[in-house]
Amino acid sequence: MSTTFNMAAGNGAAASRWVVPIAGDSLTLVRKGRTLLDRVTLEIDGRGAVPTIIGPNGAGKSVLIRVLAGLIAADSGRVLWAGLSPDRDRARHVGFVFQRPVMLRRSALANMTYPLMASGIARDTAERDARAALDEAGLGHLIDTPARQLSGGEQQRVALARALLLKPGVMFLDEPTANLDPSSTAAIEARIKAAAEAGLHVVLVTQDLKQARRLATEIILMHQGQLLEKTPAKSFFERPKTPEAQRFLDGQLLL
């Protein structure tokens, strides 16, 4: 099977071998005199696991996954996808769901088909797959609705379904349920969990500790641009290693 075919088809689990493991080596990023990432080194692997990056506002969580996803270049250090530097072709295998979903000014269905067709898939196939994905996400009745007229929760569910439809090798989720109501949050968490259980590599960023308890298999605690702790979720919540982690769990302000 050729590389080109794989990239166009984006065949899910197989796609992960192009990008996983994702590693960051001594990633440092400074903007306007502020250190956003400070020598962060980590490796993300483990199919079916949900490594979850938590930390207070401004800790560098969103910046970190943008650097890992190849959206922002670090000032120093390097990112490796499956041992190689990120490139545009393999970026197709990296999914990203933003805190604020990016909805094109067209129908929900057209929002789903756009990235498929941009990756070379024929319209008929793209529409068939997109309809099935929207049905599966419980959004089949909104297929023809202009996406920007959907509620915030519906837009995020479309964004998640759209990202999954591309069958990425790894999926980054940047606070996907921030500001959403409980039912939308539950729907999105269920989809994330199912995708992870089906073998997708998921990296979640959240500020919601309850959500981290529900979904995380591993906790990556960020604070002031530094990676403080990378621990299996169970032990993190039961016996955090650092005083900062304990204070964060206790709901105290981290300075």
Binding site: L71, S119, R148, Q149, L150
Partner: protein, 235 residues
């Protein structure tokens, strides 16, 4: 109602031949100029919006400045180009509708370029990360942004048309206001008023006003379709 107003209304209701001819020429010239401007300005505006290059700020400043070009100045420049001794004199376009189209195209293109750049640039900032995650190439990205900015572009085109149809200085200089050849609504109003023949001037003024209202109504519709609030789905 005074005689002048009664005559003006009569001209409108009778679809007076001269009046229809003048309105038809005005619309033809302005619509053609707007079409040509759009063909140049939309890709150009999208290019400026989506590319970083040396001198970009200067180009944006220049285009924004050209938005306020005085029509008589454009008329003068086009006149000099097209006059018998000018560089394009051999075309023999002076005092023809073609000359008026050239002048109006030059007037409208900066407006369309600037408004296109603004509309596309705003969207580009919003879509940037998502487009990069989808590995969308530069050409596909620019095309998508133009389609996505359609409401803003429609507003820009209508604004450009409004400027063209209401403009008098440039078309007067390069068209010459020749009866049955280059007489537009605005030049006819100026001439008829100066002659004291107010009925045709008023009738044309009413048509111009109706067009202005229609254009503004279209701008409102185009704008309102642009950006529905998230979460406000119609029942």
């Amino acid at each position: 109602m005074s005689d002048v107003w009664r005559d003006a209304v009569a001209l409108l209701l009778e679809f007076d031949g001269d009046l229809i001819e003048i309105v038809g020429l005005s619309l033809t010239v302005s619509l053609t100029a707007v079409g040509l401007s759009a063909a140049i300005a939309v890709p150009l505006g999208a290019f400026i919006a989506t590319h970083q290059f040396y001198g970009r700020s200067a180009v944006i400043l220049l285009v924004n400045t050209l938005m306020g070009l005085p029509p008589v100045l454009v008329g003068l420049v086009v006149y000099l180009w097209l006059s018998a001794s000018g560089p394009l004199g051999s075309l023999q376009w002076l005092y023809t509708p073609a000359a008026m189209i050239v002048a109006q195209t030059i007037l409208v293109a900066p407006i369309l370029t600037s408004l296109t750049r603004q509309a596309v640039q705003d969207l580009d900032a919003e879509y940037d990360e998502q487009m990069r995650m989808w590995s969308v190439g530069p050409l596909a990205r620019a095309t998508t942004l133009i389609v996505e900015a359609r409401a803003g572009l429609a507003t820009a085109v209508l604004a450009g048309f409004g400027r063209a149809i209401a403009e008098v200085g440039a078309v007067l200089i390069v068209g010459g206001n020749i009866n049955h050849v280059t007489r537009t609504m605005t030049t006819a109003i100026a001439l008829e008023t100066s002659k004291g023949e107010l009925a045709l001037a008023i009738a044309l003024g009413i048509v111009l006003l109706v067009i202005a209202v229609a254009v503004n109504a279209a701008v409102m519709v185009a704008s309102s379709r642009g950006e529905p609030e998230a979460g406000l789905r119609a029942p």
